[in-house]
Symmetry: D3
Subunit: 159 residues, 6 copies
């Protein structure tokens, strides 16, 4: 196994001191316990940071039909991925908006992530810029439909 990439990139922010990999050779039992609890807590914190109470509501609504999907959103999507160091929340939200606009088949999630982008400090114009850019990469219908979703969010939030 080669040296992990991030070790060869000293300018990348160091991962938090809390171990992210529970199976690492230096893990002790106590650390692993903390890992699982921390993962859930980190997921909840990240979900709240990005979506306020809205995301938690979406997650809780899944409890009746697919409780494990609710957990995966907390633990994996927000706990493992979206909370990672190496990229700030604002850039992450803009990347998500780019992808969902380009895919064009996930309007409910685009709405949540436009709201999230505003919440973590993106300006409306930055969100618009990313959506407009998708006219080049995914075509004008994608950009128009993405913009319609963004407009709904901006209007609802009084921007």
């Amino acid at each position: 196994m080669k040296t992990p990439y991030r070790e060869r990139l000293p300018d990348v922010p160091a991962p938090p001191s809390f171990p992210r990999d529970p199976a690492g050779s230096t893990s002790t039992r106590a650390e692993v316990v903390s890992y699982s609890d921390e993962r859930r807590a980190r997921g909840r914190r990240t979900l709240a940071a990005i979506t306020g109470t809205a995301g938690a509501e979406v997650v809780e609504k899944l409890r009746d039909i697919a409780p494990d999907l609710a957990d995966w959103i907390l633990d994996f999507s927000y706990g493992d991925v979206l909370s990672r160091p190496g990229l700030d929340f604002r850039t992450r939200q803009l990347a998500t908006i780019a992808a969902l606009t380009a895919l064009g088949n996930a309007q409910p999630q685009l709405k949540v992530h436009v709201e999230g982008a505003l919440k973590v400090g993106c300006r409306p114009q930055e969100i618009i810029e990313v959506i407009l850019q998708m006219a080049v990469f995914a075509g004008f219908p994608a950009a128009l439909n993405g913009l319609a979703t963004a407009r709904e969010v901006f209007t609802a939030s009084g921007r």
Copy 2:
């Protein structure tokens, strides 16, 4: 919160006695420790059951550039999702083949999962049936390209 869906469906195989949700209120420290280790181990077992040594090689190749993606494949994709009770490996592989054939933009993964389908006991004709069915749902090009990938696997494995 309503009663979880699976509790209202008594004919669904019970989840394994090992707790899947580390944050459940009855978890003890010892269980949580086991949870993390077991999750990784379950991921490795499932990956091996479906892909033999091929999947592990793909995962290990990620270690230099994206070690956490390697972990997520083990822990989340195989440990959390593909190892779930409630659906047998054969049906899961056929569902994956259906999806990847329909999407049509993930030939390397389709190849791995056709191999995996054979490994868990799907007959070639069953795999072909699923791919042909995609002609109805995703069009003939999707079916033709999925079939070309399946043929490669069948030929390489002497079927």
Copy 3:
């Protein structure tokens, strides 16, 4: 022309005695007559088996604008493809649900096929399993939107 694949796979269920290929060299006039009528009848039977009266209504609504599309659904989609031996109705419906969830742009058809899956005997939890699995292969938005459609069907059918 090489030997057809299924002949080299003796464990595949034999095709029904009724000839599926009207242009085969041994076809007689009488068989061909039966072929066309049987194809339509087989399509209707399969449509009814999977969708009850709902599918037939969808098909009949097409008669004003695209009567041939109505026929193709009966004759090709259900008569030629979905009625094929080699894979049971339950697995076929789960494969369709996987594909439509992954594509994410065909909610009306996903609804019909979730209903169909219930009708041919899939348990709700099996349908949920397939949709959850799509989180791995097509992303969380695809799984969330597929689940929302499944929930509508389950609620409407009192499950």
Copy 4:
């Protein structure tokens, strides 16, 4: 059932005198026999008209692994759909090129249909126009990749 749409549109070319719907109430046994044979023959003629010998080779290569898919291509895709009156071959090929360029995941089929477009009399510039137009509707990457495929065909055919 309402009056079929095409009957309310007297300027649409009448369907050929040969009946396309074998299950129509006025069908006689002899007509139905002719229907099935004619369908296959119409498929072969249309495939040859659009693809020359190349399409037939693709179809025959399917005989070992999926003989029924080979039949469906002849009978359904070319016999039922692409041979329909109401739209000339040139427009049909340009529509196919538009769709496959926009989808962007079916380069082998795009190649076949660019060749087919040339065969039925489309000028290279018309093909290029359709592909360029996809920059608007599906983005520049789709147009660039479609154009690369078209260029291959033009070069191979000495255009």
Copy 5:
């Protein structure tokens, strides 16, 4: 640089005498001025020719949130691309309908372009033919959903 393709194809309609490329070596200042004004005017004319007043309304609604996108639609989509010589408006609209039906994630734009197709002289049956053809290339759900959108337009316009 090789000779531009269109020069080797003498049967392609010559581009209009007005220069489309403002940076060409023979451009004078006066021509360049005309170019920019003409581009906008050509975009407006083409938008009106295809969409009547509906398209202009869509464009104007963008002025508050993304005025540059409004300009790009006029100048690039309609002024540069859809107004090009080499393919008539009817074929261009049918190609757009093919692409949007196949993509399946842009119903508002499909609606506009079905209306546009009628406006530039396509018969309803031609539009239907293109949509039906997508059953082959993008699957039955795409064709069914495209047809539902076309039906809405036909009904609203009294066809």
Copy 6:
């Protein structure tokens, strides 16, 4: 017409003093002349800033088959869109990488834009972060295939 959005957002960087809209009521002939030339020049500068000489080569290769597409890439994609104020090059490249990874059908363009991201100062780890994030929004196959493309670029550039 409402007040343009950006005017209500005083913290957005002002557009450059050079007028972007040639049809504005205050344009003079001289400004418009400059507009067209500047647009092309701005496109070339932006293309060079992001892609070095590689992008210009791609554009020039289009001159034989589709010279207008080459111009559109310079004038529209890079001159109008990617050079816009309101979002820095680094964020724009990461958004493009997100979209192309999620779409999964444009590997050549993803390669160009990973190279471009490095050229405008993105760190490899930031590019990897965006691609990994797509596992959540577009599935693991999309992330794996995007990562394979990024790895190629990193290896070729000695990173």
